[in-house]
Assembly symmetry: C2
Homo-oligomer: 649 residues x 2
């Protein structure tokens, strides 16, 4: 039996580098030896049974290793991570090695059954699950403690011995993808399936959402244009626009869930079983027994964490919110000053000066958002959450609250304290457009330019200016390891979220917002695509079945926008003219309409099923099959057990 597992390696003829491991310069020999031995060691000995080769560079002082795996090893790994693939009968099923023949496109010699990003995900999973056995520390580094079951890679990362692990680009594939994605000048859908194959589900889902959201905004934009062109200020037209917007935003969010289900079903992630979540790399604590797994691992008291959250984080966030409001008041003083200046001078320069405070404020908001982001990350990681998901949720909550207030507080103030609709429209336009320009610049163009400059410098150093595809493996690894790291879709979603706020919160005052949003998103698709393909290292694929907490965030925003739009309409002079005698009737009517709209929203969200009918049937079919299989298995077990009992008697 032992032979069959060890023969895994001998079967393999060619080594295909998939993942790069960069160790710190000057890492001790014994550490490297131990680490590589653990990686190639047999599964039965607690190894990862992967293949590893050092990258031989010219100067040779860098510790860079390439990791690959045999085809068979990858197939077994696909089973371990629970990949879901399409079968010959077009149904989606979890891949298992024993049932491999039933899967579409499977052949023992077909190396493309698993996509490259799936292979890299499997290798990452196997590396992260390489656990200490009886080592008390990392050989050569007594301060880097280990205990049985601790992930070795995570310890190496937190101790700085392991600099980074990243998957290699596939230059050929990337070129093809770039061409279909943004290479041609044509209007069309993005190649989401190809994006998913290359970058994984999380990123493909972001681009899918971005595209869907852009299409969903088009009706709003189309309806919004005549308001600007003809300068419609009629009450009934605004009410119609706002009502349409509110119901539309509910519909698009509900329909997205259905589209998302269709997509992730096709990709297999809708059916993927949730894996047991291990502690996140940065989590620390005293060694104890985990009550769930019964394993020895660091334990950190939940009360201490609560104390940190409520006594430090919450006050800090409140302070930041206060500071943000303070900056807002400074902005209003500036605005007033500019207005006064314009009144006094009445020149072209002074009328241009009118826009300056808004632009400065928009820039300051962006800067504050970015600084706060670092503080929030520091605080959340200091809170020492055990799970990555819990860390993410706390971080997202912190960032969302601050960004929301920071971006919209001034607009709320203008709308509901100053009652200045003209200023509101102007501020909204300035904030929206400035933040869009800043974002596009800071997110993609700046890094792209830096990257290009760096590449040029490097190539010059190599004394050769070859084409990208002609680079040797060594050059490819060297250039990719210097690229920036893509830290996930958080910032991209946040940008969309704030944009959704600009579009929906005050939609009845500034119908043109949707037009700008659509225009921005079209360029955003291209700049984000550029960013993914050319600026950053290839990220590891991350299987996911939905956009997670962002769905909730967008839905919350759409509920808030019902309230703000109703108030805005109630405040408009046209509506006020309809109730000349009694302000009370007006307010009561507005409140009634608001409650009605909210009720309709909730009923609509309840009535529209989250998954299309055919996906529901497919899921029910799978569940039915697994229940039947379980029943059969249980019957067989009891049967044999019963027979044994009978024999004994």
């Amino acid at each position: 039996m032992k032979e069959s597992w060890s023969s895994l390696d001998t079967l393999e003829t060619n080594f295909r580098p998939l993942v790069v491991i960069e160790l710190a310069k000057g890492t001790k020999e014994e550490t490297i030896e131990w680490f590589t031995k653990r990686i190639v060691d047999k599964k039965a000995n607690g190894g990862a049974q992967l293949l590893i080769k050092p990258l031989v560079t010219e100067n040779g002082d860098e510790n860079i290793y390439l990791v690959g795996a045999s085809h068979l090893r990858l197939l077994l790994g696909a089973e371990t991570v629970g990949l879901v693939k399409e079968c010959n009968d077009n149904s989606m099923r979890a891949f298992t090695y024993s049932s491999r023949k039933t899967f579409k496109d499977f052949a023992d010699d077909n190396q493309n059954f698993l996509t490259m990003s799936e292979c890299q995900y499997i290798i990452k999973h196997e590396l992260e699950n390489l656990r200490a056995k009886d080592e008390k520390m990392i050989p050569g580094y007594p301060q880097a403690k280990l205990y049985p079951g601790k992930s070795i890679v995570r310890r190496l990362l937190t101790n700085g011995i392991l600099v980074q692990i990243f998957p290699l680009h596939d230059r050929e594939e990337l070129k093809k993808l770039r061409h279909t994605w943004y290479g041609q000048v044509k209007i069309g859908y993005q190649p989401l399936d190809e994006i998913r194959c290359y970058f994984g589900e999380t990123i493909a889902l972001y681009f899918g959402f971005l595209e869907y959201f852009t299409f969903a905004l088009i009706p709003m934009a189309v309806i919004g244009i005549p308001y600007y062109v003809f300068a419609w200020e009629d009450y009934d037209k605004y009410v119609m626009f706002a009502t349409f917007n509110l119901l539309w935003s509910t519909v698009i969010l509900e329909v997205w869930k259905r589209i998302c289900a269709v997509m992730t079903y096709r990709w297999g992630t809708l059916l993927m079983k949730r894996q047991f979540e291990e502690p996140r790399p940065g989590f620390h604590g005293v060694l104890g027994i985990n009550p769930v797994t019964g394993r020895e691992e660091p334990v950190y008291s939940s009360i201490k964490r609560q104390l940190r959250i409520y006594l430090v984080s919450v006050p800090f966030v409140c302070l930041c919110l206060y500071f943000s409001l303070y900056v807002m008041m400074i902005y209003f003083n500036l605005e007033q000053w500019a207005l006064d200046y314009h009144e006094e001078n009445k020149s072209n320069f002074s009328s241009l000066m009118l826009y300056v405070p808004s632009i400065i404020y928009a820039v300051v908001i962006e800067i504050m958002n970015r600084i706060y982001r670092y503080a929030a990350e520091f605080l959340t990681s200091w809170e020492n959450h055990r799970l990555e998901s819990s860390y993410q949720n706390h971080l997202i909550l912190k960032v969302l609250v601050f960004n929301f207030l920071n971006c919209f507080a001034s607009l709320f103030y203008i709308a509901f304290v100053l009652f200045d609709m003209k200023l509101l429209r102007q501020s909204l336009a300035t904030l929206l457009i400035t933040s869009q320009i800043l974002n596009q610049f800071a997110e993609s163009l700046l890094p792209y330019w830096l990257q290009k400059r760096h590449m040029k410098k490097m190539k010059k150093r190599m004394h050769s200016l070859k084409m990208d595809t002609d680079l040797s493996l060594v050059e490819q690894v060297n250039s990719e390891k210097e690229m920036g790291t893509y830290f996930g879709t958080f910032d991209d979603y946040l940008e969309l979220f704030l944009q959704f706020g600009y579009v929906s919160l005050f939609s009845c005052v500034y119908p043109l917002a949707a037009v700008f949003a659509v225009l921005n998103n079209i360029t955003e698709i291209y700049s984000d695509a550029l960013k993914m393909c050319r600026v950053y290292k290839r990220p590891f694929a991350e299987p996911t079945a939905n956009i997670g907490v962002w769905q909730l965030a967008f839905e919350t925003m759409s509920v808030i926008s019902v309230v703000t739009n109703c108030i805005l309409i109630g405040m408009s002079p046209q509506v006020n003219a309809l109730f000349p005698d009694s302000k009370m009737d007006l307010i009561l009517t507005v409140a009634l309409v608001e409650h009605l709209l909210l009720a309709i929203k909730f009923v609509m969200a309840f009535v529209i099923p989250d998954k299309p009918r055919d996906i529901q049937i497919k899921l029910a079919k799978l569940e039915f099959e697994s229940l039947e299989a379980l029943k059969k298995q249980m019957f067989m077990e009891s049967y044999s057990c019963l027979c044994d009992d009978m024999k004994e008697q």
Copy 2:
């Protein structure tokens, strides 16, 4: 191998009757023979492998059969239905025959490992899953068509050949239960675990909720009493009371989820896997292929059902709602007439007459609710839903909407159209108290009295007046089969739901409502207990993990009550006096407070975890174990598969 399964029966020495089957008088011999043969037939032949004996009565013209099962058969059945039991290490696990030794209190000769109600549930499950093989019809009844896979019992029931199936009472156990439940005059908790053992989880959970809800109302009642005693009419006290009520109702509904989780974890139902849902007995259609199971079964077009719902049911419900409003207007005319009469005559009689319209209206409401209930049941079953759960949801929705409007429309009209707080208080009190008295009477006391009278008559006919426990089996079966059938907890929850409405919707106007609710619920516990133990046939146990759609209904009610209470407070003269100059400020303040309260409610519902931490850990532990087991199993499978491959090569 065959011998071991057939030896199931020979092992058994004593036959314990558990379930009674009553066939229609004059059922053909061949049908009876075929049906009993199917019941006792071996599993391998598609039978249920149960035991069945005819009940020999004096006149012998009745087709009554007693069904039992061997101990071993019941254990295997427990595995099939997925019962969850406590293990020796105090964890809860799904029972399997092969792991039976690890369960607490298990011994091969311990017949009490499964409770009687569990045994009866298993037998019911096995009977319902007795399916046609190649029979085209029920022998002797060519019009009763069968097709492979159709449940025989359900076909017999819909064709009227099978009159009823019901579980037998256990006179001894029932006597004990009655004693601990309501036999002693003492204040204390109900014996929920014993109730669960005897009646099953659904009913125990209802009584648990009733008890919890009563306790939860006590703080409201205690705070409400001084308002009545001292005739407090201060604005600030009312606001305090209402605010307390609103937040309290959120807290109690959230805490109930936690308590429910603790209870159902202990009972094992929290962990029970959802079984695949078969079509409900009344479902009909043309034979087709079910896309989920691939089996032949009746199929009914979803579009037809939608048409029936939207073209018939919805208009009918609207018509009923309109009728209910029409009746309400008649009530207000009557009320006005009574007032005029009192003004003219000013006698004791006329002041008594003031209450008459309210009482008549309360009675009419109860009658309308009950008539509508039948109409809703008829309509929903005509809509031809495939699943029992879908049928129940549509029925509950129909009934809830109508009952809500019927019970509360007049109060809304008085509060928000007539602005008559005195009349509101009076109507609320009359409606609440009258409906409570009517319910108690119609639900328990009347059936109890009828039942007693019937029993006496029957006993007289038997020329003997023995004690209950001395009855022979024949007498017991004969008396129980005449008892009414308990149709589930629907009406009981509905009553509580409406009561919750009376207490919370207008709580700031009539703080005494909670006092009446508490008093009513205390007697309700006793009258419901009486109803369960003495009036109705024993119901089959129904495993459940929560109170289902009622949780949502109660939460919706508590959201609506935020709105109504805020408006009521805003309308009170004391609050109006605070804003002498501007009605607008008042309304804006009220709207702001309302939105704040709603926001707090949603945040609280989000922040309070649905399950206590220790239950969460236990569930996580089980999930972890099953994931580990799955991993191990998959590893073993791939391993052996791999070895086979190696040998081939």
